[in-house]
Symmetry: C2
């Protein structure tokens, strides 16, 4: 590790110039890890010295509680905490939870797992904020009962012990009312005065134990100083199938600029493939200054349509519609028509401006000005993007800028758009996103945000923490079993999965990965199967994907040749080689199998052949097993090493694997089946796993 040693004779540190923020209030907590307030001075304030239960290491807890952990409707929230006390006393631990920040708490018993860890769980059903907390105390009655059992087993005289227990029961009777109190009082009499044998039976019996577990007064309870936060999203945050298309290429007439009306006519195509989110690149007016030509040429030819991400022209900015696409009314029509087919329209939020954007004249203070009087264009030195002006988020008027951008998102949300794909969020400040997402969710708690951040992992994770619902991933560059396992396990399990939801894409308009530059159908099939089954959220850029557009602009580039980012394209969806039927089958399978609608159960199994990837997902009784050949050229055989418990299959029973891609059904037994994956026939198996059921006449079937 490279460290810099203290230079003892160094000059005093430079002064920190902190421009006073508008608004005031405690702010440093925004971007820094919290250090727990040390209100408690151990040498002077042992006020709760009898609260002997220790609670440590609560999960889920994101950055010590700075952020809400994320779940979605229908999920079971498992809460864990270390709980223990001094000595041999038994402890009891309760989990409390509630939707919202007010209202009654519900309480759930927690149970020990191993090594002083306790777990409890509850289901969430409402979108929005939830709170949970835990409490622990010494279980006096439980300790007494446990010890009594051992004394009785050792044949000791327990007369005094029964009197001690009677006092606990009497205390509970006094703290309760009605039948419960009467019941407890009756048990106490038994303990105190009953014949010894009967008293012991009562003391160790389940009825008294159940009553005391509920009603024994709790002494010296240890509680968290604050509850932990949970944000619950609607189901689509967890389970969504995205299809991206450029509306301007949607015309049925080659060479003609597509419109929203054309898109409406293509909705059946999208719906038949089973996608439920239709994501459109920016639909706003496009700038003319420094407009890029075809294949990202620095100069546009007459007629070139420019990049939709160079937002803003005389016709308007982020709340306007490109005139060639139609009107705002047409757009609302599209949103409505899509909804009728179970599809949500997702818009692209790209917070940057073309030099022609109205903001440039109306709010020059929102941009950085160079000493020569020009406005600073986007750069990644030495590359220059003169067609794009980034906002200056450090400008003095940043609050007005933030509020305007919030207004833009709320505007589209009010038009029925509830899903937003955010362009390059990692080039705008994290506090801005935290603000914007909170503001939009205050209008629509069901608003969802997909972060298009292809950058360093901690940056991507921070975007999840500040509120992004889903994120693009490195999936496009994970093509071998080792890389797939390492990455997918990182992003589908805690702690990352508590604030980050992967949305995996085999391609995007910016990314035609080398693996897909081969015009090899098997490669596309494998990537589609992996995307649709590894992650409950996935998407692809079409029709480029299903029509196997595999030409890069040049060798070594991941950019498409004749990219739609800079020109119109015309797609012939009726091609016989189209993967649309495969995609339809995949999305159908996703809808039919709850296992594919959640990520946390993802489990990788072992294949003897290192070119074969094997994994499963399971939800309740539903289990899915995927086996894919990551080599798109060569047939691979492999013996597998399955963890049958992850499939819910008894080790000594036969089971059925039903390939939904070929409809073949195999009867397997044991954990070492052999598979053959031929790229030309079936490069992947997508198996639904069924357990054997025996009928009374000893017939069998698989369900």
């Amino acid at each position: 590790m490279s460290t810099t040693a203290a230079a003892p004779s160094r000059p005093p540190a430079a002064p920190a110039v902190t421009t006073a923020p508008p608004g005031g209030g405690p702010v440093a907590i925004l971007n820094a890890p919290a250090v727990v307030p040390r209100a408690y001075d151990p040498a002077t304030a042992p006020a709760a010295g009898r609260s002997r239960v220790i609670l440590e290491n609560l999960v889920p807890l994101v950055d010590g509680g700075r952020f809400a952990a994320r779940r979605s409707v229908g999920e079971t929230v498992v809460v864990e905490v270390d709980a223990f006390t001094d000595g041999h006393d038994k402890v009891a631990v309760a989990l409390r939870h509630r939707p919202g920040a007010t209202g009654p708490w519900q309480e759930v018993d927690m149970a020990p797992t191993e090594n002083d860890r306790w777990a409890g769980a509850f289901e969430v059903h409402a979108v929005g904020d939830h709170e949970f907390t835990v409490a622990g105390w010494v279980d006096r009655f439980g300790t007494w009962r446990y010890d009594l059992n051992k004394r009785v087993a050792a044949g000791q005289d327990v007369g005094v012990d029964l009197a001690i227990g009677a006092a606990f029961v009497e205390e509970a009777a006094a703290a309760t009312e009605g039948d419960i109190s009467t019941s407890l009082a009756g048990f106490a009499v038994h303990l105190r005065n009953g014949p010894r044998g009967e008293a012991i039976e009562v003391a160790l019996g389940a009825p008294l134990e159940a009553l005391m577990r509920r009603h024994a007064p709790r002494h010296f309870v240890t509680e968290l100083p604050e509850s932990a936060l949970l944000w619950v999203d609607r189901e689509k945050a967890r389970f969504s199938s995205w299809y991206e298309l450029f509306p301007r290429s949607a015309s049925f007439e080659p060479g003609k600029h597509g419109t929203f009306k054309d898109v409406i006519r293509r909705l059946d195509y999208v719906a038949e493939m089973g996608f439920d989110v239709l994501y459109l690149p920016p639909i706003h007016p496009i700038g003319r200054a420094f407009r890029k030509g075809k294949n990202n040429s620095p100069t546009a030819e007459p007629g070139d349509v420019g990049s939709p991400w160079a937002i803003g022209g005389p016709e308007g900015g982020h709340d306007a519609i490109h005139p060639d696409l139609g009107t705002i009314g047409d757009f609302e029509e599209l949103v409505k028509a899509a909804a009728g087919k179970g599809i949500e329209v997702a818009l692209d939020i790209a917070f940057q401006c073309s030099p022609d954007h109205p903001y440039v004249k109306q709010h020059p203070e929102w941009f950085k000005h160079r000493p020569d009087g020009t406005i600073q264009y986007a750069e990644n030195p030495p590359k220059k993007y003169q067609d794009i002006y980034p906002f200056d988020f450090e400008c003095d008027g940043y609050m007005a800028l933030w509020d305007e951008l919030v207004r833009v998102v709320k505007f589209w949300n009010a038009k029925g758009v509830r899903v937003f794909r955010v362009d390059n969020p990692h080039t705008k400040p994290f506090p801005f996103w935290e603000y914007l997402i909170a503001k939009v969710k205050a209008q629509d708690p069901g608003a969802l945000f997909l972060a298009e951040a292809f950058t360093r992992p901690k940056v991507m994770y921070r975007l999840g923490k500040v509120g992004f619902t889903q994120s693009y991933t490195y999936f496009a560059w994970r093509n071998d079993p080792v890389g797939l396992k390492a990455y997918l396990m990182e992003v589908t399990q805690s702690p990352v999965a508590d604030f980050f939801r992967p949305n995996v894409w085999p391609n995007t308009p910016d990314i035609l990965p080398e693996y897909l530059q081969t015009n090899n159908r098997a490669a596309y099939v494998v990537r589609a199967v992996l995307a649709a089954t590894l992650s409950a959220n996935y998407g692809l850029y079409g029709p480029a994907f299903e029509l196997i557009d595999s030409r890069p602009v040049r060798h070594g580039s991941e950019e498409y040749m004749d990219s739609e980012k800079y020109q119109l394209r015309h797609w012939d969806g009726d091609h016989s080689h189209s993967l649309a039927p495969l995609l339809a089958r995949l999305n159908q399978t996703r809808k039919a199998n709850p296992a594919l609608q959640h990520d946390r159960s993802l489990k990788f199994h072992t294949a003897d052949n290192g070119g074969v990837v094997v994994y499963s997902k399971r939800h309740g009784d539903n289990a899915v097993l995927v086996i894919a050949n990551t080599d798109p050229y060569r047939t691979n055989w492999s013996t597998l090493d399955l963890d049958l418990s992850a499939l819910g299959v008894p080790a000594d029973e036969p089971y059925q694997v039903h390939d939904v891609l070929t409809n073949a059904r195999y009867r397997w037994q044991g954990n070492r089946p052999v598979v053959k994956l031929d790229p030309n026939e079936s490069p992947a198996h997508l198996f639904v796993v069924r357990r054997r059921v025996r009928t009374e006449h000893d017939f069998e079937y698989f369900a």
Copy 2:
């Protein structure tokens, strides 16, 4: 995982009975993990929205800052934090630290390591509380300089860029005074008006970079809301060699009760072996009621001396001396005589009472009373310990009890005792220890506490967090290379090492492990070498250890036959088979090699033979390599697989390993040497590793 689902129709939770604590104030933070206060509402308070640097995952930070991380004088504290910002801007991160809670902060630059992690370090020299914190900001000048470099390399016109940079330098000139300001102003003129080539040279040159790094004003700095705590112990907390003996067995006359004066006469024996802590079991009056006889017999014979842990009699309690050992004056004499030989006397703090303890009559409210009027004796049902009354730490007068026990420890501390071995701390409340240790350290910051807690790991770790300096470990039961590696790496590395210091003992009066019940000298040699070299803190119970007392009280027990816990023993230290010379050599080696005085550098290497354990430690230029045969019966050969970089040895150079146990020196080259370990000759190598040095005449030596 076993969880309990929420029962929707369950009755309301039982009422929590919380007796109002004396003192008041916020208390729940005592025993529960903190959840970060959510003072910041993202939807309403973006006041510091321009503080764009994110700081995450600060280490060392124990339980989110609830506890101080622990270091010792002379250690280098490495602080790490994730730091990044949006976009492509460079960030700068500073580490600030200071001893105490007031006074000037020192600042150290942090440097990036990998994956957005930053590290910085400082040394600690003072015992007591320290604070540290980190701050991060966008490095405007650094970003500009980095970009300029790329622009220049691409042959771009950088006229406007130089003007931008000049403004940064002018801002720094305005914020500074004297020569520095003049220097900066001069550079700014160069940038703005100098010939282009010279201006670029100045812009990219080291002198300007160095000045700007120190003096560029910082904008929108992200700081932690609170600093993190560090407790720095004196060196003995990190590096100590303990020897335990029973003073009552110290007489030179068999059958006679030993005295402190006898112990003084044995100090040379201890000092010659090189131990620096002499730990005495309790030295207080011993109770007579229910006194245990020899070999823990439930009934004592006349003349039986009882267990020193049954503390208290008519002669006094925890602040009194057993009359047969001598007087308080004799004790003070012993402490002084030991100090003269570089040995600290450690006392045993066993907070429990015999039925004859003065507290029982003076403070019956500190004990639990049974319904039959008797006081509750110690139990682990069905086992009963009628000779011991535990305190009732839940009693109403618990604060008076706590303060009395604090008084006891301070009393001995005032008599010159600065090291305390605490008996069974895990059976007393954690808040009590946090209070007691804080109070004693307020009197003597150099007071050290060794926790005798052989219990579950999280309980042991919590004791470290609340203030114990060192802890006994599972070392006695880790006898194979796999178990040794797993356990020692857990307790010598962060996060555990931030609050827990292992003190490894091959035996104690309570633990004669099965491995040592064989009367096999090699087993003792191996365990001594491992203890003395795996951990900078170690100890043993003598003379039982060096005289190879290996008889258990019965098969399957770890108790010694004729244990000194219940009777006097007479030891003949002049035995020819004594391991005292080996222990002297080990302690000498520990003193001579700084590598053995620290734990964090511990590194396990691989041996092809699974019965051989190999590890190294390194501090600066000093490296030690230990290779031990864990099979005390059989000669083991093994090829090793050494990580030479951990030894500081260049891969292509010969090096010398000098066995301090046999004085043999071997010249090795490469990472695959072969060793032979014969239990009857040399069951372990303790090598000092020396690198080759070449003289000008091409002679070589190893240093």
